[in-house]
Symmetry: C2
Subunit: 640 residues, 2 copies
């Protein structure tokens, strides 16, 4: 199709993104430079079906979620022309809170410049959902430059119209800044409200007190969570309890292998408590947080790296009465370089979704922002696409337990797990970590609503030559492959004990493959990593700037698990993969404790094939491979 | 003149206030209801010549004065469409800082609603005059209603263009509110910046530290001055040092005779140090302040009374290191009910004005706001007048000494003086108080520039019948009277010792008199009061609402002064009056320690006569009566 025709049709598409727009792009021919296409020309090309994103345009951080105590509906919020939201009664399908989903906009007295992240007290002022958010008055704001005093303040707004609008209180910020003398901050934003009885006891608070953890840091000192405590019933005043969590500038958890760097500034910190089922007020204290850092020299207004971390720990009380969060483990909430800004919320057992699905316990669910353009710094063709970024699939967090782990060197590390208990007789330990799984209703819906489900026979693959996995050897192809780029895939890979010391073993799958494109997802023992090789993922990457083809990867340790025969034999923990492919959005879950979310911008329609992937001198066993094709339309009421 | 003609000419006058407007009003005929006249019709009728007021429109609180360290010019500031200002090199004549004298306006990020009072650090950020002012984001604000959090914050702006404009810093308020848990304030405004070595020592501060005293109070507790301390060279952060002065709600100094009530909320507090010459860093600590209160029941949004007070005292340091101001005396800075909101400033010896006049010491000069319409609550015809309110004449404050006072019951009282030293042998004390005088350059100019000066012979008047003083007995008339309502008058009145116990003695002057109108200024021993009887002051008061004819009055004690013969004889202190009549503005200074400023809205051109006034059974001696007619045009460069 000629460029000129494309341009004209593209212009139409921009006005009304429609199937027309998708049709004019020929995904059976080599790609053009997409950046040159008109607004919205490729609106549907990579648009996911089951994910949360606004009708069009940019999505930023998820935030401001809550369950409306009146309706039981769960509200998912996200930054979009201020902040916008959608409701769900099943965690699977969503409904915009209004024709315009934006429920709060900037340009008020407290926020003339911008609305940043916030969080909601569901039963707040007058029993109404009440938002505490960062109201922005001055820019620029970044940890790499001096802080403009008063640039970030924390203000209140109250839900109206069932959450379709939040009305700002006619008063100044309830937290107007960091308390003196904490004046030279690197940031002070993203207030996260929570209740916690353990903290109540430690801080000598009334039971049920609300707290706000505000993320930031101090120039020259390092990142912090600033803790505030509710002072009055109307949340007008908040008592500063100090930096309840502070890390040295640019330090790391252990050697950094498992949780990157604490960096120079914290963002989007959440604080919550989990047991093995999900949320539990009395559970272990967890936090999710973003960490910003750069290599030296630090360039003003450039935050080179962002880490999306989690940590769990204990609350201690100092002799002077101040409370502190002391981490006992920390890890990556998502290893995807473009997955960031997680925001989670208690989903109560009495929410509509939980009641409908029969989940009788409280849960904690979380969403991440998956940026399309590297936090706005890359040249991704967002104009041609007409939308920008998504939230990751609804994720449940819980306390994760790994049982019967052989008590060897593999477990003794400053890492993303801790030893919960030790069975000296058996020579085993029970490890505790963060459990992350796809929301159970979502997983169930992807399975039950699949338009096509097929199982690939298991398979053992022994020694292969280096590079073998990258050949298009038909012998490795699946018997069936998806016909689209919308599917959920599960699979397991078992490794022999000898794999542990292999320097060359890689095992996994090639997905989204055709003769033109292919993406390899594999585990590599040499560096205990799960890799997504995107070097050949997109034909469009060669024609269009801003479609990176670098590898994504994350660290996952497969432990030795004691056998049932009293620990005399052990086996390497099986790698259990769940892969969600929702068009360009690819999320890889492993062993309920590893997630990597990324983009695969497949160009050709036929790039849907799957095959086994194996390289190296050690044999592996693939099993339990099932593909559920179709996913679910998350937005049944949207026009597009 | 017919009303319709007036209306048309009035409309013209409103566009260009000019002599024309004044001429169409016939001040030889009975007054109309002025409220019905067109805009600006009476622009000149009551406009003063020597006072500070904007070219037209409303003036509010004086504030933001400073001496520019570069030019040496003294800048007088006042609220006007934000805040406006004028410069002076002689304290007598003034020049607007720009064609539009407003140098800061509301509607910035920090002050979207209003700019309230502030004060200037002359050598501030980068050595430039730097304003700390109250930036207002929400209304209403009053001590009678709950405080809207964040309604008043304190922000910075820096002088440009020689003070013709102040540029707001692109950052949030430097003092964003009262520090937790001081949250339920009655007010938090009018930051007054000052330096003080005594406070430096008491608060363990670096020498030369700047402080900001912010006026307000706490609901249910009472009025306070909140003290903050400079934290950095750029004045970005201020350390809260506590309520360095707090009084119980609605309490008074002593029985209230000398200093009214502390009320419920402080406003416009100034802090400075004086010796007997004027300003002295090492001198006695003085403060001027406004106090707001009401009788019960307190009506929301109605501040029934405002007191313009001064106090002097000591700085103490508590065991916990906090500093406090402890009053040792307090009084009224002005007894006029409509004189309020004083703002003063150090005038250094090296200022242009001081150098020109040869005053070789630092001074502290102050201005009050004299409201035309009872703080906006009365129906005064401000539209017809085209301007509203003035500042009082430049006033110098110093430590006042009253020597050789007989040590009797008259001196031992919780009052507006304190006993400085006691001479037991002589039976005398030296009293210390606040000295208030007309700025010496102003007084000198009024005298030297007078177009007509005449002296009235002294006179003894003995017993007169009750009511005698109010007759138009020609025997009491001055030999000459002013031909205009622009003059300075000095006079003294001596009373015999027996006057002390007189129940009926009143002695003073009738001024601004004609067959239609007359105002009596007299001292009355029975209540130690200096009274301004306005009951017959204005013929217009009977035709026009908003021209009150109530008496004004204030308390002045005339002490017994020991004679030169070792205290064996004593005499009542002579009453020394200085009266400034600048058209409708009348200011009465007595004995360098009493001031009463008020309005006299004479209607008839011929109401300029002066006569002695005496009533009662005791004789008095009038002397030293001189009238200097003409005053000075304070605004030689203004078109009108």
């Amino acid at each position: 199709m000629a460029q000129s025709t494309l341009a004209i049709l593209g212009a139409i598409a921009a006005l009304t993104p429609s199937i027309t727009a998708a049709k004019i792009i020929d995904n059976n021919a080599s790609p053009p430079n997409i950046s040159t296409l008109f607004n919205g020309s490729i609106f549907y090309t990579w648009r996911p079906r089951s994910h949360i994103l606004p009708p069009s345009g940019q999505i930023g951080d998820p935030c401001m979620h809550y369950t409306d105590p009146v309706t039981g509906l769960f509200h998912v919020g996200y930054l979009h022309q201020g902040a916008a939201g959608a409701t769900t009664d099943d965690l699977v399908t969503f409904k915009d809170v209004g024709k315009d989903p934006t429920f709060i906009r900037a340009e008020g007295i407290n926020d003339p410049i911008a609305v940043f992240d916030g969080s909601v007290i569901p039963y707040g002022i007058n029993g109404t959902p009440t938002l505490l958010y960062t109201s922005v008055s001055f820019l620029p704001i970044q940890w790499t430059i001096p802080y403009i005093k008063g640039s970030e303040t924390q203000s209140l707004a109250v839900a109206h119209d069932g959450g379709a609008n939040f009305t700002k209180l006619k008063e100044g910020p309830v937290i107007p800044g960091p308390p003196f003398p904490v004046t030279n901050v690197t940031g002070l934003r993203d207030p996260y409200v929570f209740q916690n009885p353990t903290l109540d006891a430690a801080a000598n608070s009334t039971n049920g007190t609300w707290y706000a953890a505000i993320s930031g840091g101090i120039h020259g000192e390092g990142p912090s969570q600033f803790l505030f405590r509710q002072y009055d019933a109307d949340f007008r005043d908040w008592e500063y309890l100090g930096q309840w969590w502070h890390e040295q500038a640019n330090s790391s958890w252990g050697d950094g292998s498992w949780a990157g760097r604490w960096g120079f500034n914290f963002e989007v910190g959440n604080v919550f408590a989990l047991n093995t089922e999900g949320y539990s007020a009395e559970g272990e204290i967890f936090t999710t947080l973003g960490a910003e850092w750069s290599e030296v020299p630090i360039i003003p207004q450039v935050s080179q790296f962002r880490e999306m971390l989690w940590s769990a720990g204990n609350i201690t009380t100092s002799s002077n009465g101040s409370v502190h969060f002391v981490p006992s483990m920390a890890g990556k909430l998502d290893w995807g370089q473009w997955a960031y800004a997680a925001a989670g919320k208690l989903l109560p057992a009495n929410s509509s979704a939980s009641k409908a699905s029969g989940v009788d316990h409280d849960r904690f669910i979380s969403y991440l922002w998956l940026t399309n353009d590297n936090f706005g710094t890359d040249a991704f063709p967002v104009v041609a696409q007409g939308w920008n970024s998504v939230l990751t699939t609804t994720r449940e967090l819980a306390q994760g337990i790994i049982s019967d782990v052989v008590d060897n060197d593999l477990v003794n590390e400053t890492a993303s797990w801790r030893v919960g208990s030790r069975n000296s007789a058996a020579g085993t330990v029970e490890l505790v970590t963060l459990k992350q799984t796809i929301g159970q209703e979502v997983r169930a819906a992807f399975i039950s609503n699949a338009t096509r489900t097929f199982t690939q026979s298991g398979r053992n693959i022994s020694t292969t030559a280096p590079g073998y996995g990258n050949t298009s050897a038909t012998a490795l192809d699946f018997q069936q492959s998806p016909m689209s780029r919308f599917f959920l895939m599960t699979a397991s890979i078992s490794f022999p004990p000898s794999a542990r010391n292999s320097s060359d073993l890689k095992a996994g799958f090639q997905i989204l493959s055709s003769e033109y494109e292919s993406t390899t997802v594999y585990y590599q023992f040499a560096n205990e990593s799960l890799i997504v090789d995107r070097s050949n993922s997109s034909a469009a990457a060669t024609t269009t700037p801003g479609l990176p083809s670098n590898n994504e990867g994350g660290r996952l340790r497969l432990f030795d698990i004691a056998g049932s025969d009293s620990g005399n034999s052990s086996a390497i923990e099986t790698l259990n993969l769940t892969i969600v492919v929702d068009n360009s959005v690819v999320e890889i879950f492993a062993n309920d404790r590893f997630v990597l979310s990324t983009w695969i911008w497949s160009w050709y329609d036929q790039s849907t094939e799957i095959s086994f992937y194996h390289e190296g001198s050690q044999a592996v066993a693939f099993g339990n491979v099932t593909v559920y094709e179709g996913l679910v339309d998350a937005w049944p009421e949207r026009m597009y």
